[in-house]
Structures are given as C-alpha cells and as structure tokens.
Point group: C2
Chain length 327, copies 2
C-alpha cells in the first residue's frame, strides 16, 4: 500500500480512501491512485484489515461429516449465499457429533477469526452444545429443532411429514406406518411428530414405530419386518436412502410397489425420480434454507434484529410409489 502511495505521489491514507470510495478524494487523485494500483497489481491484505477492524468477513460452517444429501446441500446453499454477500466460508466437518466436538469446532473457527458460525447440528447433542457459546458471538443453528435457545433455520419437517402421511391417507389407506430416522436426530423426531399428528387428526390408528439409521442398508433390513406384516399397506419413510433399501427388499420378495404397498420418502435426492418405482417424496429446498440461514447470521453480526426462527416449507412430489390400497 505504501508502494502504491509513493508511486501515486500521495499518502497511504489517500490510497485507503480511494479503496473505500471515500467522497473526499479529488477525481484526478483517484485516477492516479487507481493507475498505480493497477500498475503494481496491488491487492489489499485482508488479514491486516481484519486485524484493525475486528471483522474478517469470513463465516464458519460446522457440519457433520457425512455423505448424506441434506447436510452437503445445506452447506453449499450457505456457501453460495455467503459468497453473494461478500463473505468467505470456512468449514469444519465433524467425525462425531456431540457436545465437546461441536464446542471445539466453534472455538477453533472463532480463534481463526470468523465473524459468526452456522452449525448444521441435526442431533440433540449438537444443539445442547450451542446453548453454551458466549452470547457475544453470532451463531445460527441449522436443523436444530424448534426449541433451541439460539436462532434457528430449519425445514418444517413436521409439515412435510404431515403432507406425506395425509397423501397416503387420502389415497384410502386406513393407516400409515413410519420408518423413522435414529433417535437422537431432531429431524427424525419432528417427522415422527408430523406423522402422528396427521394420523390422529383423522382418528387413524398410530402403529408401532419402525427405526432405521438413514442408510439404505437399514431400510433393507427393516424391509424384512415389513414383509411379515399383513395389515401394512402404506409406509412413510424418513429419508429417500432408507426408502431405496426398503424398495429393494420388497422387490426381492416379489412385492409390487405401489400395488401391494405404498411408499413415501423424504428429501428428494437426485436419484429418487429413477428408483424402481420412481419415489413419491418430500422435497426440501436447501438453497433457500442456506439463504435464509445466512440472512439470520448476518443480522446478528451487524447487530440488526433479524429473524430468530426461520422455517422453510417442504413440498410433496408425487411419483409412482404410491397408490390406493388393494381391496
């Protein structure tokens, strides 16, 4: 910067002013400085700037290391929105999600100088950790369920689950079974609640809950059980990967979906439309989630009052895995 100043015959402060479009610079001076900047191929040092301003224009994202479609899509949604807002994004992906790992990740990002962090913390344990971050630091939780003590951005899993369940009930199924995600996952809980509420609202029986772990394998294994249940005509599966495993098991057993059994998934991963049969599912708009999440975070950073709770609506996508029950 002083080199630029020298070449342009001004002080470094004037260079700084040109860089910030300050109105207190004469046109001719501005031109000279800009020419010098180009000539020397000068690039401002963002770390020096961050040191003095206390803002790095960098955001952190803590995410759960996974090949799951949801978290990865959310991460990219946030990155895109952050980039558009002129923020850089640092990531920290966790091998295991619990209070100490989440706290450590946040601390590490903070030490690194980020202005705020988004935590993709779908597990209850992850949410708990967030209650304890110092309140002078901007944090937003993604997918943290409805009762977190800090700002949250989330898809409305209950609404999605209700839409899925209602769709099956409307087709004429007397009740709907549910293959849920693992216990400690907030999204799994919310989807269970939505499913229950939909059944109860029409007075349908609430069958025993089935538990998977999000993997196709677990869907396949639960398929074993499902094959033995004579009265089962409709299943709402908590994600598309498990639904895939289930479809596979049913196919192996010679059961026809949707004739013998209707299946609805959740997520709408890119593969779902090409399953056998193409899967009826709930689509989540992760890009929108990322945008809204970022907005919340920026409001906190800038000290503005932003939304403390952001909810994105999911959407039912009807394909060929659902039909009226056989009589």
């Amino acid at each position: 910067m002083v080199d630029v100043a020298r070449l342009a015959g001004v002080s470094h402060q004037t260079v700084s002013r040109v860089l910030h479009d300050s109105p207190h610079v004469r046109g001719a001076t501005r031109e000279r400085v800009l020419a010098a900047i180009r000539r020397l191929n000068y690039r401002p040092n963002s770390m020096a700037k961050a040191l003095v301003t206390g803002r790095s224009r960098t955001l952190g994202v803590v995410s759960f290391d996974t090949t799951l479609y949801g978290p990865a899509s959310t991460l990219f949604g946030i990155e895109r929105a952050a980039h558009d807002a002129g923020y850089a994004v640092s990531i920290s992906s966790l091998r295991s999600l619990n209070r100490s790992t989440v706290e450590a990740a946040i601390q590490q990002l903070r030490d690194q100088g980020v202005d705020g962090v988004a935590v993709i913390a779908p597990l209850q344990e992850g949410v708990d950790a967030l209650g304890h971050v110092q309140s002078d630091f901007a944090v937003v939780a993604v997918e943290a369920g409805p009762d977190a003590s800090i700002p949250v951005a989330t898809v409305d899993h209950q609404a999605g689950a209700m839409a899925a369940t209602r769709h099956l009930l409307n087709l004429g199924h007397s009740t709907v079974w549910h293959l849920a995600g693992p216990c400690d996952w907030k999204e799994a809980d919310e989807r269970i609640k939505g499913w229950q509420a939909a059944l109860e609202s029409v007075g349908a029986r609430v069958p025993e809950l089935l538990r998977g772990d999000w993997t196709p394998r677990s869907g396949y294994e639960i398929g074993e059980k499902i094959l033995e249940m004579a009265d089962l005509t409709a299943v709402f599966v908590a994600n598309d990967q498990m639904a895939l495993g289930l479809l596979r098991r049913l196919h192996e057993a010679g059961r026809n979906v949707p004739r013998d059994l209707s299946v609805v998934g959740f997520d709408d991963i890119p593969e779902s439309a090409y399953f056998t049969p193409p899967l009826t599912t709930i689509r989540q708009d992760f890009a929108e989630l990322g945008r809204r999440c970022l907005h919340t975070l920026l409001c906190q950073i800038e000290g503005k009052t932003g939304p403390t709770r952001v909810v994105v609506d999911p959407e039912l996508v009807v394909r060929d895995s659902t039909a009226a029950p056989r009589r």
Copy 2:
C-alpha cells in the same frame, strides 16, 4: 497478550515464547504465564500471527458447485486431512467452471490469505486456468487429468474403466458399449480411453460412443437408444447416477438386467448397492485422494519436494448387474 504478560509479570515476548514452547523459559516463569493465560482465558489472535508470519495455516478448496457425489466426497476428504494437519479450510464453490471463474476463485482465496489451494477441476477449462496462476503460489489440481502443468492428484480413471470393461469381456461379452460423461470433463475422457484400451487389447470391436451428462435423466434418455440396439449385451456407464437412469428405462421396457443386458457403473455411491439390481461398479477412495492431495499441497507450501503426480487406484465392486450374455 500484553494483559497476560502484565498479570504474569513478564514481557509479551516471554508470553510468546511460552506459547511456542521455547526452551529459553524457566519452568517457574512458564507456570506463571500459563496460569495467567488460563485466568484470562486468553486465545491467540491467529490473524495477527498470520500478518507477521505470512502463513495463515488456512487452505482453500475450489470446487464445482454440485450435488455430485465425487466432488463433495473429495472436498470432505481434503477437509479431514487438512484438519488433522492443523490447517483450516476455506471453500469457494463455483456455479460454472471455466477459466475466468476458476481464476477469480483462486484470486479471491489468495487475497483472503490462504497458504495454498486445491482445485477440484474436472473440466478441461478449469485445468487451463491453472496453468496461469503465479508459480509462487501452492496449487494442486484434483482430477485434472494426466497432462496438467501443475501438481495433480487423481483417481486412475483409465485403470478403473479398464477393470470395468475387462470384467464384462471376461464374462463372455463380445464387446462393451460405453455411456460416457460430457465432452469437456477430464474424467469422462480418461474413462473413455480406458474402455477403448481394454477393448483393443483383446481385439474387440469398439462400438459407437454414447454421451450423457452425468444425470440420471440422461441415462434414462440414452436408454431409449440402447433399447433399439439388438446386438448390445453389455454397457459400461461412466457414473452410477446415469446407470440408475438406464436401469430404470430398461426396467420400464421389461428388459432384465443382467439377463438381457449387463451394466457396470462408476463411483460406488452409497445407493448403488440397493439399485434394482444392485450395481456392479468401480469404487473410488475419496478419503485417500483427499489425504494424498493434501500431502502434495503441504509439500509445496513448506518448500519440500513432494510428489508432482498422485494417483489413487479404484476398485471393482461386483454386484448383480452383470452376468454372462444369453446365447
């Protein structure tokens, strides 16, 4: 830091020495300083440190914005390895991959102060951009094909394609068709080369190339063509998603895989084992790729001579989508 120094009754330099485990500090002094650090909950400011040392211990990853399994897995592989090496990771995901976007992304990360970048640049255009970064900056290209002018880490796509093709030939197919990825992708090119080489090495006819765009949809659409080809008994598809689309189309037309037609994919996405039928495919070890890639990058940063070309071997996973041809 001066607060800590004052509390411990030493100079800021001594605090710095304690932080760096310098041997020139008396045990008692060290203890006093450490106590002060704990007492004040002092955290070093990494940006101030970066400003003076010129190293930020942060790496950049430029990736192509996508939900594709490969790039996302590679990113996480790199992040994990970087984290273990004590480096933070900043990401910049591109909407479109061409020379100017790649150059801009690298420049932006550089301005941000990263010590080096890994570019996940599977397109020829992306690779071209890398030829022009200043040579004083550490860059490694991931999946950039074999002829790049800078260090490269890549899966051996040719070997993978050869393994897939040979597997089909060994089953007794007289030749193997290939549903390739889009033209400008290096991985697509390499897989084509491997396929051709495998066919030529046994004197088999090299059939007309089929082109998709990695999406399940394109696999489905090419399926239309494939249905009309009477002499086609085996297809090597350049990724699992397209293979899924193809399987779907074949299923709709009543063709049985593998009885009527054998299919091999590439990637081994988590869903592949549960396709109908479970897909024979080529597995890529993205975690290993990330590790090796990071090692190359760190060697450059530290001025050591590291590998200039890293190749990770893929692995054939045989499932149920391949069989001997009907006679």
